[in-house]
C-alpha cells in the first residue's frame, strides 16, 4: 500500500515543540517559561495583544533570534544544538511569509520564487522558473504577474506572491506573520480559503500569527493566546473563547469578535445546507 507522504517521521510527533522559552531585550522580559507545540498538519493561530511577543516567538522558532533560555525543537531536532549545515537542512523545510512580504525588490516575481529552487534544489533556471510560474498560478496570481517587480504590485498581490515564495520548496512548516493584515475583507477571506485548500492538498503545518478574528474562525484548527509572557491557553477556538481571562473575553466577545463568530456560524451552516 501507499505510505503517507511523510512516512519517515511518526505522524503523531509534534513538528515544533517549544519548552521553557525565555526571551528578553535588556531588562524587558518578553517570554518567560513559554511552552507551545505545533502538531503535524494543523493550522495554529497565535493571537495576543500588541507587544506580547508574537513576532518574537515566530522569530525565535525560525532561528532569526537566539532565545535567552529554553529549547526549540523542530522536527525532532533542537535547533541551537545543530551545526550550520544541519541547521540549513532543517531551515529548508521552513517557509516564512513576513509581515510586509519581504519580496526581493531587485528580482521579478518568478525570479523571487525560483531563487531557492536554483540555490537549494539545484534546478536549472528554466525548470525553476517553470515551477515558479506554477506556484504563482497556485496562489491565484495571473500569468502576467510573473514578470512584474514587487514595487508595482498591490498589497494583496504582494501577500500572495510572498506565500508562493514561502511555498517554493514545499515546506513542512509554514510560518505566516499577519498574512491578512492590510488586505481588504474579500482578499483576506480569499487568503484564508487559499491557505486551508493548500494545507489540505500539500499537508504542511502552519504557524499563523494574526490579529484577524475572521482568519481564526475560518482557517485555524487551534488557537494559542499569548499573554503575561507565556501561552495562556491553547485549544480549539470555541474553548479558548470560554477562557476566564479579561483580555480573551474582550477579544473574543467584543463587538468584532461577536461579528466574526456570527459570520462563521452563518457560513458554516450555509456550507452544510449546500452539501
Amino acid at each position: 500500500m501507499i505510505d503517507s507522504a511523510k512516512s519517515t517521521e511518526q505522524s503523531d510527533q509534534p513538528v515544533i515543540q517549544v519548552k521553557g522559552l525565555v526571551n528578553r531585550f535588556g531588562a524587558h522580559v518578553v517570554h518567560e517559561n513559554l511552552d507551545l507545540t505545533l502538531k503535524r498538519g494543523e493550522i495554529l493561530g497565535v493571537v495576543g495583544g500588541s507587544g506580547t511577543g508574537k513576532s518574537v516567538l515566530l522569530r525565535s522558532i525560525v532561528g532569526l533570534k537566539r532565545p535567552n533560555g529554553g529549547t526549540v525543537e523542530v522536527l525532532g531536532n533542537t535547533l541551537n544544538e545543530l551545526d550550520d549545515q544541519q541547521r540549513s537542512q532543517i531551515e529548508r523545510r521552513f517557509g516564512v511569509l513576513f509581515q510586509r512580504g519581504a519580496l526581493f525588490s531587485s528580482l521579478n516575481l518568478q525570479e523571487n520564487i525560483a531563487l531557492t529552487l536554483i540555490e537549494h534544489a539545484k534546478l536549472p533556471r528554466e525548470d525553476a522558473e517553470h515551477l515558479a510560474r506554477v506556484k504563482l498560478s497556485l496562489v491565484g496570481l495571473p500569468p502576467q504577474a510573473a514578470l512584474q517587480f514587487p514595487e508595482s504590485l498591490s498589497g494583496g498581490m504582494v501577500k500572495r506572491a510572498a506565500l508562493a515564495r514561502a511555498l517554493a520548496l514545499d515546506p513542512d512548516i509554514l510560518f505566516l506573520d499577519e498574512p491578512t493584515a492590510g488586505l481588504d475583507p474579500i482578499g483576506a477571506a480569499a487568503f484564508d480559503q487559499l491557505l486551508v485548500t493548500l494545507r489540505n492538498a500539500l499537508g504542511f503545518s502552519v504557524f499563523l500569527v494574526t490579529h484577524d478574528l475572521d482568519t481564526l474562525y475560518a482557517a485555524c484548527d487551534r488557537v494559542a493566546v499569548l499573554s503575561q509572557k507565556r501561552v495562556l491557553v491553547v485549544d480549539t477556538i470555541d474553548k479558548v473563547a470560554e477562557t476566564d481571562d479579561e483580555w480573551v473575553q474582550d477579544y473574543f466577545h467584543g463587538p468584532r469578535g461577536r461579528a466574526a463568530q456570527r459570520a462563521h456560524t452563518a457560513s458554516s451552516t450555509n456550507a452544510y445546507t449546500q452539501e
Binding site: I2, D127, P143, E151, N200, L202
Partner: protein, 372 residues
C-alpha cells in the same frame, strides 16, 4: 525502459518511487530517455508512488495532461486523498496559461532604443535639475524676508553633520595632497635650481584650486549621498507625501536647511583645506628642502596676493549649492524600492562630482581670461 520512476506493465504505465523536488532532474531525464512522450490516453497507475510534492505533481500533470489529472479521483482511487487533492489543485493552477512572452526586439533596435532612452533621460534630468534649482531659489527668496520660518535647528544639525564632522577627513586629505604637490614641485624644480618656487606652487594650487575642489569632492561623496539616502528613504516611506498632505512644504522643511548648511559648511571646509594643504607643503619644504618655516611664511606673504584666496573661496558657495541641490533632487526621484534608493544615491554622487569639476574648469577659464 523500466527505471526507478517509470515502468510499463502490459498496457499500463506505472509511476513509482518518490516524485519530489529532490529528484526533479532525475525524473525529468528518465522521462526523456524513455519514449513515453505524452500519456494522455494511456492507462496510468499511480499506486506505487511513495512520496509526492508539487514539483512531482507538475511532472505527472505534464505527462498525463491537465484534464486527466483533474479527473484523478475517477481512475486512481487507490491514491490517498491528500495526493489526489494535490494533483487536482496543481492541475487547476496549470490549466491557466503559464508562459508569458517577453516582448522581444532585434538587438540593433534595442541598442538604438537604449541610446535614445538615455539621451531623453539626460535631457529630462537637466531640465529637472534646472526646474528644481528654480524652485529652491524661489522658496529661498520667499523665506528670506520671513526669519520666523527659518529652520535654525535643522540647519545647525546639518552643519554639524556635513561640516563639522567632515573637518578631520578634509584636513587630513588636503594635508597629504599638499605634501605630495610639494614633493612633486621639489623634484621637478630641483633641475632648474628653483626649489624655492615650490612654495609658490603649493600656495597657488591650494588657494586657487585644490583647497576648495578637494573639499567639494569630499562633500559630494559624503554629503550628497547622505542627502539622497535620507530624503529617498522618506520618499519611499511616503513621508514626503505625508508632509504635503498636511500642507507643509518639503522644499522649505527638507531642502532649504540642507542647502543653507552646505552654503555655510563648504566655504569653511575649503578654508580648512587651504590651510592644511599649505601646512602639508610647509612640512615637506622644511624637512626635505631646508626651507625654514619663517622663509616659507615670508615668501607666501611676498609672492601670493590675497586675490588668489578670494578667487578660490568664491567658488565654494557655487559648489555647495550644486552638491546640495543634486543630492536633494535625487532623493525626491526615489521610487518605492530599496534598489531605487541605491541607484539614486550613486547617481547623485556621480552627478555632483561631475558638476563640481565641470564648473571648476569653466571657472578656471573665466578667471584666466579676466586676469584674476
Amino acid at each position: 525502459m523500466p527505471s526507478e520512476w517509470i515502468a510499463r506493465h502490459d498496457q499500463t504505465l506505472a509511476l513509482q518511487g518518490e516524485w519530489t523536488l529532490a529528484h526533479y532532474r532525475d525524473i525529468k531525464s528518465a522521462l526523456t530517455q524513455s519514449d513515453v512522450g505524452q500519456a494522455t490516453h494511456e492507462t496510468v497507475s499511480l499506486d506505487a508512488i511513495t512520496r509526492l510534492d508539487t514539483a512531482g505533481a507538475v511532472l505527472i500533470i505534464e505527462l498525463i495532461g491537465v484534464e486527466k489529472a483533474i479527473s484523478v479521483t475517477e481512475w486512481a482511487s487507490e491514491l490517498p486523498k491528500e495526493q489526489q487533492a494535490l494533483l487536482i489543485r496543481i492541475a487547476e493552477a496549470m490549466n491557466a496559461p503559464l508562459n508569458v512572452d517577453k516582448p522581444s526586439h532585434s538587438r540593433i533596435n534595442q541598442a538604438l532604443a537604449s541610446i535614445g532612452q538615455q539621451m531623453v533621460g539626460l535631457w529630462s534630468q537637466q531640465r529637472q535639475l534646472l526646474a528644481f534649482i528654480g524652485l529652491v531659489i524661489a522658496t529661498l527668496f520667499h523665506l528670506a524676508l520671513r526669519p520666523r520660518r527659518w529652520r535654525l535647528t535643522a540647519t545647525v544639525a546639518h552643519i554639524q553633520q556635513s561640516g563639522l564632522n567632515a573637518v578631520p577627513i578634509v584636513a587630513l586629505l588636503t594635508f597629504m595632497v599638499g605634501a605630495v604637490v610639494a614633493f612633486l614641485g621639489a623634484t621637478v624644480l630641483q633641475d632648474f635650481g628653483a626649489t624655492i618656487y615650490t612654495i609658490d606652487l603649493v600656495a597657488f594650487s591650494f588657494l586657487r584650486e585644490f583647497g576648495v575642489l578637494l573639499a567639494a569632492i569630499l562633500l559630494a561623496g559624503r554629503t550628497a549621498s547622505a542627502f539622497t539616502a535620507q530624503i529617498g528613504a522618506m520618499k519611499s516611506n511616503e513621508e514626503i507625501d505625508a508632509l504635503q498632505a498636511q500642507g507643509l512644504d518639503p522644499i522649505e522643511l527638507l531642502v532649504l536647511p540642507r542647502v543653507m548648511a552646505m552654503l555655510i559648511s563648504l566655504p569653511m571646509l575649503a578654508f580648512v583645506g587651504m590651510l592644511s594643504g599649505l601646512a602639508g607643503g610647509a612640512m615637506v619644504t622644511s624637512l626635505s628642502l631646508d626651507i625654514s618655516l619663517t622663509q616659507f611664511m615670508a615668501t607666501l606673504q611676498k609672492d601670493v596676493s590675497v586675490m588668489h584666496f578670494l578667487v578660490g573661496l568664491s567658488k565654494a558657495p557655487v559648489f555647495a549649492f550644486v552638491i546640495a541641490v543634486i543630492g536633494c533632487l535625487e532623493g525626491f526621484k526615489v521610487s518605492g524600492s530599496a534598489q531605487s534608493v541605491g541607484e539614486h544615491t550613486t547617481s547623485s554622487v556621480v552627478q555632483s562630482i561631475f558638476m563640481v569639476i565641470l564648473i571648476d574648469a569653466v571657472a578656471a577659464l573665466f578667471f584666466m581670461e579676466m586676469g584674476w
